[in-house]
Amino acid sequence: MDLVIQVVVVIIQIAAVLGVVLTHVAYLTYAERKILSDMQDRLGPMEVGPHGLLQPLADGLKLFFKEDIIPAGANKIIFSAAPILVLVPALIGFAVVPFGRDSLQIGPIEITPYITDINIGVLYVLAFASIGAYGILLGGWASNSKYALLGGLRSAAQVISYELPLGLALVGPILLSESLSMKTMTEAQGGGIWNWFVVAQPIAFVVYMICAIAETNRLPFDMPEAESELVAGFFTEYSGMRFSFFFLAEYANMILVSCIAVVAFLGGWQAPLPALEFIPPIVWFLVKVYFLLFFYIWLRATVPRLRFDQLMAFGWKIMLPVALVNVLLTSIIKYLLN
């Protein structure tokens, strides 16, 4: 009986997290359009609902009813599997993110503010993030289009180049908290803003943010889908729901990397000052995530796109050495302090 209740509780948790994440994804597209248009002296979506608030819903419906086209000469199985291969890893990472502090107690049932807390949480997220690159690469290859192929190749190169410094940047917080679990990592940063790892690890934070933008294919690193030269990159040939899967995955990834950044560097659900702890932890968590998401959108409105070779040079010649030196310094200081 206990087992059954546990399984039901976990399923409810999964459904709730999925629901919340997908709603956020939908409204992130809306927020992006609104923030961009505000920065660019225009209105953005205004027609569907008050201030265009129902626009994401309309977009979703439109995509759902669009014709699903598989181009001639495409490899059907891989072409159909690729969008799923991109979306699932993006969503699966949310399983280990601790959204809040307190568990909800209903009788004997305890509902935790995270789906699970595994002791290799960070590794788990990184591992699944790499699988997403396969979806992009295979989608680009299976489309039987040169633009998609070039987009897919670029993406593979880009993700491999930036995954290394991304992982190395996370080594800093791991060393400081002496844990790979996201929950322990958050708890290690309690007691005020000066205890957040961003203070002790500013270099790692900057490296992480830059690599996270590259991982999610956002400007200025949106090479794989550089629309000015590659039309739409690896999803040029996709339409309808399959296209929307790629689209959802991109925004879900944005939220995921922001969540990881918040957990690893910005204290997770911890309040910045002990005096502010009366505000629920989940609110703090969301505020920090929204701030990072706003930063991404802001960046998109500001900078042009890098060229592919510049991006690779930047990744290997600057990001990787900086991340390595940071890991080395952190380890030495940590050893000396002990």
Binding site: L219, P220, E227, R307
Partner: protein
């Protein structure tokens, strides 16, 4: 291979009999091919219906062949069957980002044949409007070039200012896209006081707006990385490929028709020709931005000096009678009707006349046999000439630079394909 075109089936047959392998040491020799990529005519950033076939080694371009003519409408041939006045609206469709410049270039060529003296006020108005067109053209260029490189915000900022100019054009001539304002011997109608006031108002804030675009671009590391040393062309090459306008001045060649053979009132106002050093995309960007400032300066001075007087030459054989007389006076009505239907005869001769457009030297070559229609008209569009240097400028750069290189010439296919 008579099987259905399915890649799975094709894969199964690889290495059997579909391909013949040359054997080297008992192993099949590796075949190396360059990737052939067809870009356009339907592509989001080929600036209209330009088609380029690229041969690439990885992402590096080893051969680039432009295919032109997708927007060919036979303007030159149509002109042979139209009176000189009817040709003016045809020229609107050449460089549609600044249509009135084309009008200007055409009417100047005809006036050169007719040898008419343009009234002072008309010359000032022509210069003002030509410089407004240059602003509109350069704003369009800056926005699209930045958008191609990924800086989308600049695009909306430049179009905000372009909108003000388009509103003014609407007040001047009634249209926003294919504007037709210049007439042989003058202009169509007078500038109203409201236009003058609003133009002053626009010029007051315009330099700040240019600074605003520059804060996003001028010192941006990514922008510099994407434009510096891209599509470099030396001064000698630029001259021998026949580049003109900002593309030529970017390489440091001081040639601007407005200075070399002044027309309009360019010799009566103070302005400078910005020159580049390296002949790269960044220099051409800088020159166009600087030209916008200079154009604003020219317009300001012209407005200050704007004299009273006629807006078209007082020559009844080529200009319409005043509008109010046409509605009351029978002779004037007949006169108007005759010019509108039959046009006017142009003395026999040949003429070439180049005008400095936003994109470069826009030339019209007209052969007249004394009739009311040209025997032959040939247009020298800067975009077409610039396409000749495309491969020279594109070789060795990467596919991402291709869109930068399209942009740096400021290509408009309407003009290129005519």
């Amino acid at each position: 291979m008579e099987e259905k075109q399915d890649s799975v089936t094709r894969l199964d047959h690889y290495g059997e009999d579909d391909f013949e392998f040359e054997l080297v040491d008992g192993k099949p020799k590796k075949r190396v091919e360059d990737l052939l990529l067809n870009m356009g005519p339907q592509h989001p950033s080929t600036h209209g219906v330009l088609r380029i076939v690229l041969e690439m080694e990885g992402e590096v371009i080893v051969k680039a062949t432009p295919y032109l003519g997708y927007l060919h409408r036979g303007v030159e041939k149509l002109a042979e069957n139209s009176t000189y006045t009817q040709i003016i609206p045809l020229t609107d469709r050449l460089d549609y980002t600044s249509s009135m410049t084309n009008n200007y270039a055409f009417v100047r060529a005809v006036e050169k044949l007719l040898q008419v003296e343009i009234p002072e006020r008309a010359e000032y108005i022509r210069t003002i409007v030509a410089e407004m067109q240059r602003l509109a053209g350069h704003l369009f260029w800056l926005g699209t070039q930045a958008l191609d490189i990924g800086a989308m915000t600049v695009f909306f900022y430049t179009f905000r200012e372009r909108e003000v100019l388009l509103d003014l054009f609407e007040m001047i001539c009634g249209a926003r896209l294919t504007m037709s304002y210049y007439r042989v011997g003058g202009v169509d109608r007078d500038l109203s006081q409201e236009v003058v006031d609003r133009l002053y108002e626009f010029l007051k804030t315009f330099p700040e707006k240019v600074d605003e675009y520059n804060t996003l671009l001028e010192t941006n590391r990514i922008w510099i990385g994407r434009t510096r040393d891209i599509a470099v062309i030396s001064a000698e090459d630029a001259v021998s490929y026949g580049l003109t306008g900002p593309a030529l001045r970017g390489s440091g060649v001081n040639y601007d028709i407005r200075k070399a053979e002044p027309y309009g009132v360019y010799d009566r106002v103070e302005w400078e020709v910005p020159l580049g050093k390296n002949g790269d995309t960044y220099d051409r960007y800088w020159i166009r931005v600087e030209e916008m400032r200079q154009s604003a300066k020219i317009i300001k001075q012209c407005l200050d000096q704007l004299p009273e007087g006629l807006i078209a030459v007082d020559l009844p054989t080529i200009t319409y009678p005043p509008r109010d007389k046409v509605e009351t006076d029978m002779e004037s009505l007949i006169h108007h009707f005759m010019i509108a239907t039959e046009g006017f005869d142009v003395p026999e001769g040949e003429v070439y006349c180049g005008t400095e457009g936003p994109k470069g030297e826009l030339g019209f070559y007209i052969v007249s046999q004394g009739a009311n229609k040209p025997y032959r008209m040939r247009i020298r569009p800067p975009s077409f000439i610039h396409m000749g240097a495309f491969e020279h400028m594109a070789l060795g750069y990467m596919i991402a630079d291709i869109v930068t290189i399209f942009g740096t010439y400021d290509i408009v296919m309407g003009e290129c394909d005519r």
